[in-house]
Every structure is written in structure tokens, then in C-alpha cells.
Symmetry: C2
Subunit: 119 residues, 2 copies
DNA sequence: CTTGACCTTGGAGCGTAGTCCACTGTTTAG
DNA sequence: CTAAACAGTGGACTACGCTCCAAGGTCAAG
């Protein structure tokens, strides 16, 4: 599939897709005329990329994980390990949020000042 | 307190504090000699800013919330409302993370490919 | 054969969040 | 009095993640 179709299917702009290629986040073969040619799995990969991005993972991290996966001797094992690592990160982030939530809930209603200086 | 002491107490660099002042995130009076003079509550405010930042809130958002608070007719009410809003955002973010966690957990071990193209 | 949709490249520009630097002024300690 | 430690300013610079633009190549339809 060419870049326009991939863009349409994923909601990621052509410019962004070219940018993602530059930073190693997606890969495309080239057709004889020089056009990029992506395969269908890239759609799923980009859905994953978008989710990971939304949750605060950097493009570099995501790309690195993709590469680790590629280089792994056992794909299934590597995938499981990657997911388990991400789950740990997600758990840690959820714990942080829970802590902030607790802090906010404790302060709500007390009138405890967070900010002294009026703008 | 002058900028150096505030930096030492909060772990936020002087340059960053000056930058925060420029974007309206902190406020300082000035001493006769032109030096910034912060009050003690700014330490707590910055701790809060750092937590909020770590959780993905932008400086603009944080500054805006600070201003809303300042402009509110009833400080305690405004504070409660702000915290409740943040708690809702935090809950939403936790739900997103829980969804990703579920997705990851479901895929871990299945060998379902996320990425087709080898780098 | 032209028009238009699609593709290519390179490079500029933007918003966010700092970080660093040079140069200058102020305060404090020996 | 001088040196060090602190403060001020303005401006350049960085990294990230896009986003836009100009100039041009490719291809299918009319």
C-alpha cells in the first residue's frame, strides 16, 4: 500500500509517516518508481504506536522496542518480555496517578493553598 | 527567598525558574536591588508543578489552573473544583493505562505481530 | 496530450520545555 | 579593597514531534 492509503487508514498524515520513516519507526519497501510501499501490518503497528505515544512513550522508545523485537532470537519470547516490561511501566504510572489522586482528594475541601503568588 | 535558595530547595534550576516566571508559572516580587524574592509557599507550588508535569500536564495547563484559582470568588470552592477536575483527568488516564495493560497482557504470549517491517 | 491526483525530496518553521552563555551588577567575607 | 558567590538580562541553542512548502516526478482518465 502506498503512503496515501496508509495515511487514510491510520489517521497519521503523510508528512508524519515520512517523518516516522526517517526516525526508524516505520519501514517501507520502494516500488520501481520510488514510491513507498507499506504492508498491511503497518496499520496495526501504527495503532500501537499511537496508543503508546498517547501514554507518554517517546518515539525513540517505541522504535527501540521495535528493534529489540526484530533482533530477538525468539520472537514470541521477546514479544512477551516487551509486553511484560510495558505492563510494569504502566503499573508504575498508574501507581503515580493513584498517589496524585490521593493527594488531590485529601486537599480538596481543605482549602490548603498550593499557590501563594497571585499572577 | 532569592532564586538560588528556591532552586536548592526545589531542585528546579535557576534558569528554569526564570523560564517559569516568563511563562507565568511562578511569580516573584523584586527586592530593591532587582533580585527576585519568592515566598515559602512557592516551594510547595513547585513540588505540585513537578508532579503534575511528570504526569503529563503541560506548563500552560498548570499555569491556567493556577490563574483560575486566583480569579475565583471562593478560593476553597475553586480549589475543590480544580482538584475534582484533576481527579477526573487522572481517572481517565488510569482507565487508558488499564486498557493498554489489558491489550498488552492479552497479546503477551500469543506472538501476535505488532510490527511487520524489519528495520 | 493535458489535467489532476498522487508521489518524491529537501529544507524551513513551530510549539514545548528547557539549557547555556556572555556580559554586567550586587553582596559578602577575608 | 578585592575576590567569590550570587544576581540580573538578552539571546542563542537544544531535543522532540511534527507540519508546511516549493519544486519536481509518475500515472490514470478523459
Amino acid at each position: 500500500m502506498r503512503i496515501g492509503e496508509l495515511a487514510a487508514r491510520t489517521g497519521v498524515s503523510r508528512d508524519t509517516l515520512r517523518f516516522y520513516e526517517r526516525v526508524g519507526l516505520v519501514e517501507g519497501r520502494r516500488l520501481a518508481n520510488g514510491y513507498r510501499d507499506f504492508d498491511a501490518e503497518t496499520v496495526e503497528w501504527l495503532a500501537y504506536v499511537r496508543t503508546a505515544r498517547a501514554l507518554g512513550f517517546s518515539l525513540a522508545e517505541i522504535a527501540r522496542h521495535g528493534e529489540e523485537l526484530r533482533d530477538a532470537p525468539d520472537q514470541a519470547d521477546a514479544l512477551s518480555a516487551l509486553f511484560e516490561e510495558k505492563i510494569r511501566i504502566v503499573d508504575a504510572r498508574m501507581a503515580e496517578l493513584a498517589a496524585l489522586r490521593g493527594e488531590l482528594a485529601a486537599r480538596a475541601g481543605t482549602g490548603c493553598p498550593l499557590r501563594a503568588a497571585g499572577a
